[in-house]
C-alpha cells in the first residue's frame, strides 16, 4: 500500500501548502493542521507498512512471536501528534488575538512590524 499512501501524502502536502499561501489567517491555520497529518503519515510510511499487527509482545513472551509493525516511527509520531496539537492551538489563539487587535484576518494588512512605507535608515555615522 506504500505507493497509495504516497499519493495521499502528496495530496495532503499540496493542499496544505496551497492553503498556507492564502492571505487569510484561518485558511493558513487549516493548512498547518493538514501539514501535521501529512508529516506524520510521511514518517509512518517511511518506516514501512505492515497490516494489523501492533508492536506488542504477547504475555509470557520475551520477543514478539510474529513480525509486527515498526515501533520506532510510532513512538516518534505519538509525541509529534500531541506537540503539533498544542502548537496548532497556540497559532489559533495567536491568529485570533491578531484579528482582535488589528481588526483584520488578512495577513497583508497586518503590517505593524513591517509598515508599508518604512523610512530609510540614517545615512550618517
Amino acid at each position: 500500500m506504500e505507493p497509495v499512501l504516497c499519493v495521499l501524502i502528496t495530496v495532503l502536502f499540496s493542499a496544505s501548502f496551497y492553503l498556507m499561501l492564502s492571505t487569510h489567517i484561518i485558511r493558513v491555520l487549516l493548512g498547518v493542521a493538514l501539514l501535521s497529518n501529512g508529516v506524520n503519515l510521511l514518517i509512518f510510511t517511511a518506516g514501512r507498512l505492515l497490516r494489523e499487527v501492533p508492536p506488542i509482545i504477547a504475555e509470557g513472551q520475551m520477543v514478539p512471536t510474529m513480525a509486527t509493525a515498526n515501533p520506532l516511527p510510532q513512538a516518534l509520531i505519538l509525541t509529534a501528534i500531541v506537540i503539533s496539537f498544542s502548537f496548532f492551538a497556540f497559532l489559533l489563539v495567536l491568529g485570533f488575538r491578531a484579528y482582535q487587535a488589528l481588526g483584520t484576518d488578512d495577513v497583508n494588512e497586518m503590517r505593524v512590524a513591517e509598515p508599508e512605507r518604512e523610512p530609510e535608515p540614517p545615512m550618517g555615522y
Partner: protein, 139 residues
C-alpha cells in the same frame, strides 16, 4: 449544547472518562495506552464538562489550576530521572522494584513515574487551553 440531559450526564461522563484515562495510563506499559493517550482522554473529559456546565464548576472540581497540574507533571517526570543517578548510571535510566501489597506483587518503576508525569503535563496543558478558550472572557 447546554441541554438538560447533556448537563446532567456530563459530570458522570467526565468522571467515567477520567477513571478510564487512569486505566489507560496504568496499563500503557504492556498494552496500548500510556501517558499521552490517557492525558488526552482526561483533558477531553474536562473539556466536555466545561462545554456542558460552564468553566467555573470544572475549575472548582479540579481544584488546582491546570497549569499547576502540568508543572507538577513536568516536575515528577524530571524527578523520575534522579534515582538512577544515585546508582551512578545515566539520568533517566529505568529502575525497577516490586513490593507486596496484601500478598499481591506490585511492580514499581521509574518509567511508570515518568509516564504519570507525562499524563499530568498533557492533562494540565490541554485542559488549560480548552478551558481558557471556553471561558469566552477574552472577547
Amino acid at each position: 449544547m447546554r441541554t438538560v440531559i447533556f448537563r446532567t450526564i456530563a459530570p458522570f461522563l467526565a468522571a467515567i472518562m477520567v477513571l478510564f484515562s487512569i486505566f489507560v495510563l496504568l496499563r500503557g506499559h504492556n498494552e496500548p495506552g500510556g501517558g499521552f493517550i490517557g492525558g488526552l482522554i482526561a483533558a477531553s473529559a474536562f473539556a466536555i464538562y466545561g462545554i456542558a456546565s460552564g468553566v467555573a464548576p470544572v475549575r472548582r472540581a479540579i481544584y488546582f489550576h491546570p497549569m499547576g497540574i502540568a508543572g507538577f507533571g513536568l516536575f515528577i517526570a524530571a524527578v523520575a530521572g534522579l534515582p538512577s543517578m544515585l546508582k551512578g548510571v545515566p539520568f533517566l535510566t529505568g529502575m525497577w522494584t516490586a513490593i507486596e501489597v496484601f500478598e499481591v506483587k506490585v511492580d514499581l518503576s521509574t518509567p511508570m513515574l515518568f509516564d504519570i508525569g507525562v499524563y499530568f503535563v498533557v492533562v494540565g496543558a490541554i485542559t488549560s487551553i480548552a478551558l481558557a478558550l471556553e471561558e469566552r472572557e477574552f472577547d
